[in-house]
Subunit: 316 residues, 2 copies
């Protein structure tokens, strides 16, 4: 049977659900973004998404042209097609998202962890092409990770491996959405970076443009912009955030001795004022036998392409 | 060509080098142990080992009966047959141990990390039979780890993956043999357990039989024995050590979502006074999606059999 010319990729984040229709040359030919929250039950979320999807599906010739759909979602389980207890999503318990989209669209739907999907996109189309051992770190509402060992994504015994953002780096530290304290993502996700800026506002008397932003509206992008303008408090925020990441990467290296850590997501756009501290802290803290062995790279896939492409690759 | 009936396994530890001659049914038919230190250069170490090995090789009919040799050694590199910068061994730099034993014995020699060898032994003969995802944790002079993902030992891009004992769990903490501070093994290796006992002697006024042992002679076995007699300071030492391990395991779970952690080595012989705290701290600290999923097990291979058998399996 001949394959149909397009697949749908969904990058399901805590804030937004980014859909793309992708051709076989990895071009995202159509896109639509739906807020993840505010729909109530998951059935209504799927209904709302499908009503936004159908018009762009018509643009490529209708559902008969769609081979299938891939979903990258927090706590997405490759084995079952379900999302289970995702701390940053509005639905509790076990959500059979692959089945719901399958029932609504009538095409095969495959689901995995959003960061695993990003790692697949990076390995297929991005800076990790040709690498057999690397870790993709996605910084967004949370901190995700896709771990590739011997060229294969690590799923573990239950499909939920690769939650490095929930490594506890400060016992008894900041409250996390997962119900515990001190997880890496409470320091290095987008909101984590903003929390560090607030902490510095409390601890220091350093003047900063960030002090005139309402805390509930402060995001990591504000920090990046202020840092680019030379704002000392913003630069110190990025230094602390970068060092936390580098120290964590040094510990992760003990696991699987990777060629590279590939960083992806909003906070990474701060660039060198963040990245130089990741590299420095990594090399300062890594076990001597690993020194100089791992590259700290930025994803070459723009915006949410990595996760959309990775998710879509599942359906190919 | 017919296979010869025996293989040699070497478990090379910081303190002792344990050799075994193993048949195809995994019986260790001959053994000899040589202290690892005190030989000077590595060439002399190999010479001294071979002079102790030759008599037991004669017992099984001479070198013509030996198929090959496997070595499990700290920082042993499966890809190159070399040991590189092992912090707990007397030799510095890069040591071509596989080649030296090959030249001395005239049989093929394969080398890997000692903990990777233990994991192979556990998977082939021990409590991890049939498991595809587990982590072997070896507690001895140091803390080693062998990580199995999808039924395969994780070697990483350079052959040095799996150094979980050098995860920094207390930034700026205890001095480690690797030159850094706060590694897991400074708290949970044999000497790490003894260091915790000393710390409690300093911090508390608790009476203890351990206070009458010279610090340079205090070992984890003393702590286990005192704990079995109800010594409060020894029991508190095991509680703290167990919790450190459980907290570390909870973080490791984020990587590869294993079915089990298999613990091996001297300090594990303390039994439930240690293990119950490992289990408790693991379940208290692990990400909710992983709760109740991983077993905390004790190796079913006695003494140094796991590493000898695992190493010998390399040569089969």
């Amino acid at each position: 049977m001949e394959k149909k010319p397009f697949v749908i990729g969904l990058d399901l984040g805590g804030t937004n659900s980014a859909f793309g229709i992708v051709d076989y040359k990895a071009n995202i030919v159509e896109r639509v973004t739906v807020p993840t929250g505010g729909h109530g039950a998951v059935e209504q979320y799927v209904k709302d998404c499908v009503s936004r999807l159908l018009p762009i599906i018509e643009h490529v010739g209708g559902i008969s042209q769609i081979q299938g759909m891939g979903i990258g979602a927090p706590n997405g389980n490759f084995y079952t097609g379900e999302i289970e207890q995702a701390p940053n999503l509005p639905w509790k318990g076990c959500v059979p998202l692959a089945k719901l989209f399958h029932d609504a669209l009538g095409v095969p739907v495959i689901l995995t962890n959003d960061a695993n999907a990003a790692a697949m996109g990076e390995m297929t189309y991005g800076v990790a092409q040709g690498m057999k051992n690397f870790i993709e770190i996605t910084l967004g509402t949370g901190v995700g990770s896709g771990i590739v060992v011997n060229g294969q994504v690590v799923y573990g015994c239950d499909g939920f491996a690769g939650e490095l953002g929930h490594t506890i780096i400060v016992p008894g530290g900041r409250e996390c959405g997962c119900g515990r304290k001190g997880c890496l993502e409470t320091y290095c996700s987008g909101p984590g970076v903003a929390r560090t800026a607030l902490e510095l506002m409390a601890q220091t008397r350093t003047e900063s443009s960030l002090r005139s932003i309402v805390p509930s509206l402060l995001v990591s992008k504000d920090v990046s912009i202020a840092a680019a303008d030379g704002d000392a408090l913003a630069l110190e925020t990025l230094r602390i955030s970068g060092r936390r990441l580098g120290e964590a990467f040094a510990n992760f290296m003990n696991f699987c001795s990777v060629e590279a850590f590939v960083m992806f997501g909003g906070p990474v756009k701060a660039g060198e004022p963040l990245l130089k501290h990741v590299r420095e802290a990594f090399e300062e803290n890594v076990l001597p036998i690993y020194k100089g062995k791992a590259q700290i790279l930025v994803s070459s896939l723009k915006d949410s392409d990595a996760a959309i492409l990775g998710a879509s690759a599942l359906a190919l």
